[in-house]
């Protein structure tokens, strides 16, 4: 891709600006580090789920299972291995990123193995199966973690003080992970792989008949999505001082799906814009109607599904701007 085309397309520009703004906010301390970490976490999980839900059209309702699995893997790694724990605060937190890669890898592996049978299911059956997966994993963790170490009451792992990473280092790890996820989203969307996934979401049989290796593509996208979700779970677990069963809570699925639906599926910009809208809405509603913010968000989603099934970005893509079809430039 030459530089010209790059700037003619607003999506990469938007991604670039987003990344720069977060960095500036950090360097100039416009926002607290933790707030930036939280924002990146929420946008990140939406973008991670987008790979399987937005592109391939498979709604993974139990996607939080990967936050949980990798969160626990990461926590156990640094709990039991002091070397890892010591490493975390060296080299500006880059090692955190690599341990998170490892933890994400476990999620990817689980997704791959589970995906072989489960991705044969379509639509609602897949969604239900992933919910089942989430609960199965949760119950298994609840059963075995306390056996592993009597310190882990109620499957809660509290990280020892030596295994805590400095916020700046967590920020670095989260920032790299976040950038990786968005850029991966963009590259996938532009690639042949992404075209294939979108074709699958449109009509899987037709896609297979046209030569799209659907089984392979679905598996890869599910594993990739799980991988990124897992990395976020790992870094976020570290930031929360440890992990507990809350990581498996379907409430996080609500966050992810709501962000994607508001923004619009099938694009990179969709969940990006969606998660930013979601965050602003959530924060303002939280201040004005703290009791009802989720009820209101539920209504918003219900209305969007009914009247704008392709989300905010979907509406935009149907419009023209300065004689140009926005569909061509918003990816």
């Amino acid at each position: 891709m030459d530089i010209d085309e790059f700037f003619k397309r607003p999506t990469p520009l938007f991604i670039l600006i987003l990344l720069i703004v977060i960095l500036i906010a950090k360097l100039l301390r416009l926002e607290t580090t933790d707030y930036l970490i939280t924002i990146m976490f929420f946008i990140g999980i939406a973008m991670a789920l987008n790979i399987i839900m937005g592109f391939a059209g498979y709604v993974s309702f139990g996607h939080t299972v990967f936050l949980g699995i990798s969160g626990y893997v990461f926590a156990l790694l640094v709990y039991y291995n002091r070397d890892f724990a010591n490493l975390m605060n060296m080299y500006s937190g880059i090692p955190i990123f690599f341990i998170a890669l490892l933890a994400g890898g476990v999620s990817a592996l689980v997704a791959f193995l589970v995906g072989i049978p489960v991705l044969k299911l379509k639509g609602a059956f897949f969604a239900i199966a992933t919910i089942g997966l989430d609960f199965a994993a949760l119950y298994i963790i609840k059963a075995f973690i306390p056996i592993l170490n009597p310190e882990f009451f109620g499957a809660q792992i509290i990280l020892p003080a030596y295994a805590l990473a400095y916020k700046d280092n967590v920020f670095v790890a989260m920032y790299i992970t976040f950038a990786l996820i968005i850029i991966a989203n963009y590259l996938i969307r532009r690639s042949r792989f992404g075209m294939g996934l979108l074709a699958i979401s449109e009509d899987e049989d037709a896609a297979e008949a046209l030569g799209v290796p659907t089984t392979k593509y679905k598996l890869i996208s599910f594993a990739l999505s799980a991988f990124f979700t897992g990395m976020l779970g790992a870094v976020f677990g570290l930031n929360s001082g440890g992990v507990d069963e809350n990581l498996f809570n379907l409430a996080h699925t609500i966050d992810m799906i709501v962000m994607i639906v508001i923004g619009g599926i099938g694009t990179v910009m969709g969940p990006l814009v969606g998660s930013i809208i979601y965050f602003i809405l959530y924060d303002t509603l939280l201040v004005t109607y703290p009791e009802f913010n989720l009820v209101i968000l539920g209504f918003i989603v219900a209305v969007i599904v009914l009247f704008a099934p392709r989300g905010v970005v979907g509406i935009l893509r149907g419009k023209q701007f300065m004689g140009k079809k926005l569909r061509d430039i918003i990816e």
Binding site: L30, Y35, I37, G154, S240, N246, P290
Partner: protein, 427 residues
């Protein structure tokens, strides 16, 4: 043509970056101006409370408790730090009972609101998320609702505890049992499988062992369990004649009720949390009589400046009556132990600052380690190393003829214990 476009667009990007940088720099400049200004005479205490979600009931009471403490301190001339008078103010956010945003809110408290000392959120799940932030910014964080001790075993330097740790919850009841000198005590431990109750159970087991008593049955049930029939049958079959355990209100009530209905003959029953609430008797009637419970604080506790004098420690804060009255005045309701814990935490934090004579966290932490005070909530003293509470003692209450009586420790007792619980044992 192509290169011209490239130049134009790259110029645009560079421009955007420069503009962003200028805006950012300006904001930074003004913020640093603000930061440089001194907030003369006000100590800021930062905390998140759960005003929504599963801990909203406890969070609401805790917040009120803190507000009472703040009012009391300011009404009594504030606090003397290094020769200057300071007032106290509370800065708080709603954490929605979810650990997700706790780190963010705590760093906001520290970085933006520039609070001087922190109180922990309610519950150990949330405390777990807050403690690392405090640790990194080197702010003392006083725990008031996180009775689990795990945090304090993980080497956190700035975390201190203002209430009895969970491991000691049932210790008083076990001591009481030991004092009965009954050779035939067979204990069943049936508790909720949550971090808090499991920790309590672990402490209870250690105490039972230490006292040389006989534990014959143990079971942890899932959160939300209402049906204990099979568990009770098993415990009965194991020959147990003392029941210890419970978790929250509903399951505590159900456990007691079903033990009663299934005709389990018990010499003593010690249940967490539920029996401390008046509803317990309303729901259970006669079955409530004889049931004991540990409590962090109770209405009738007799800690007073006189007791402090006898103990040779300093008294601080309102008296018990004064406290209850203030609470009623301010909020119209009744305080419970959630409120009292929070009040005590504020008192402890402020006293530590006063003793340190500065707002420097390390000085506060060191002073907290040396502090030994008596409040309406009880005696407060922490282990200088771990921050664990070591002086505060649980009181034990027992329902006797429809009334809740404090039966332990003797210094605070209103009545003597009924053992064995006649209505349960001789039916």
């Amino acid at each position: 043509m192509r290169s011209r476009l490239a130049i134009a667009t790259s110029t645009l990007v560079v421009l955007i970056i420069i503009i962003l940088a200028i805006i950012g720099g300006a904001v930074w400049y003004f913020m640093s101006l603000q930061g440089g200004a001194q907030y003369g005479g006000v100590i800021k205490i930062g905390v998140t409370v759960s005003l929504k979600g599963k801990f909203q009931h406890e969070g609401d009471l805790a917040l009120k408790g803190m507000q009472v403490a703040v009012k009391w301190i300011n009404d009594h001339g504030g606090v003397n730090v290094g020769g200057k008078k300071y007032n106290v103010t509370l800065v708080y956010y709603d954490d929605e009972s979810s650990p997700d945003r706790v780190p963010e809110l705590y760093s906001k408290l520290i970085e933006e609101d520039k609070v001087d000392i922190l109180l922990a959120p309610y519950s150990s799940t949330l405390t777990k998320a807050a403690a690392p932030v405090a640790e990194q910014f080197k702010k003392v964080i006083v725990s008031h609702g996180g009775a689990s001790d795990s945090i304090f075993q993980q080497g956190y330097k700035y975390a201190v505890q203002a209430l009895t740790p969970a491991t000691k919850y049932l210790k008083s009841i076990v001591t009481l049992l030991k004092e009965q000198n009954d050779p035939d005590i067979k204990i069943a431990l049936i508790y909720e499988n949550t971090a808090f109750s499991s920790t309590v159970a672990k402490g209870a087991k250690a105490a039972i062992q230490e006292a040389g008593l006989n534990l014959v049955y143990e079971f942890a049930y899932e959160k939300g369990t209402q049906d204990f029939a099979s568990v009770i049958e098993e415990a009965k079959a194991a020959g147990a004649n003392v029941l210890l355990g419970g978790g929250h209100f509903q399951d505590g009530v159900a456990l007691t009720q079903q033990a009663w209905q299934l005709g389990w003959k018990l010499k003593a029953i010690g249940i967490l949390v539920a029996p401390t609430l008046p509803d317990f008797y309303q729901k259970l009637g006669d079955a409530a009589n004889g049931v004991m419970a540990p409590a962090q604080w109770e209405y009738g506790v007799k800690y007073s400046p006189d007791v402090a004098k006898n103990l040779g420690v300093e008294w601080y804060g309102p008296t018990n009556d004064e406290y209850i009255e203030m609470f009623r005045d301010m909020f119209g309701g009744e305080p419970d132990y959630h409120a009292a814990e929070a009040t005590a935490a504020v008192l402890f934090a402020v006293k530590a600052i006063e003793k340190a004579g500065s707002l420097d966290s390390d000085a506060i932490r060191a002073a907290a380690g040396q502090l030994d005070i008596l409040t309406f909530f009880g005696r407060l003293k922490i282990d200088p190393q771990t921050g664990l509470q070591i002086a505060h003692e649980m009181v034990v209450i027992q329902w006797q003829n429809g009334e809740k009586k404090i039966i332990y420790p003797e210094a605070a007792a209103q009545a003597s214990p009924i053992y064995p619980a006649t209505n349960w044992w001789q039916r």
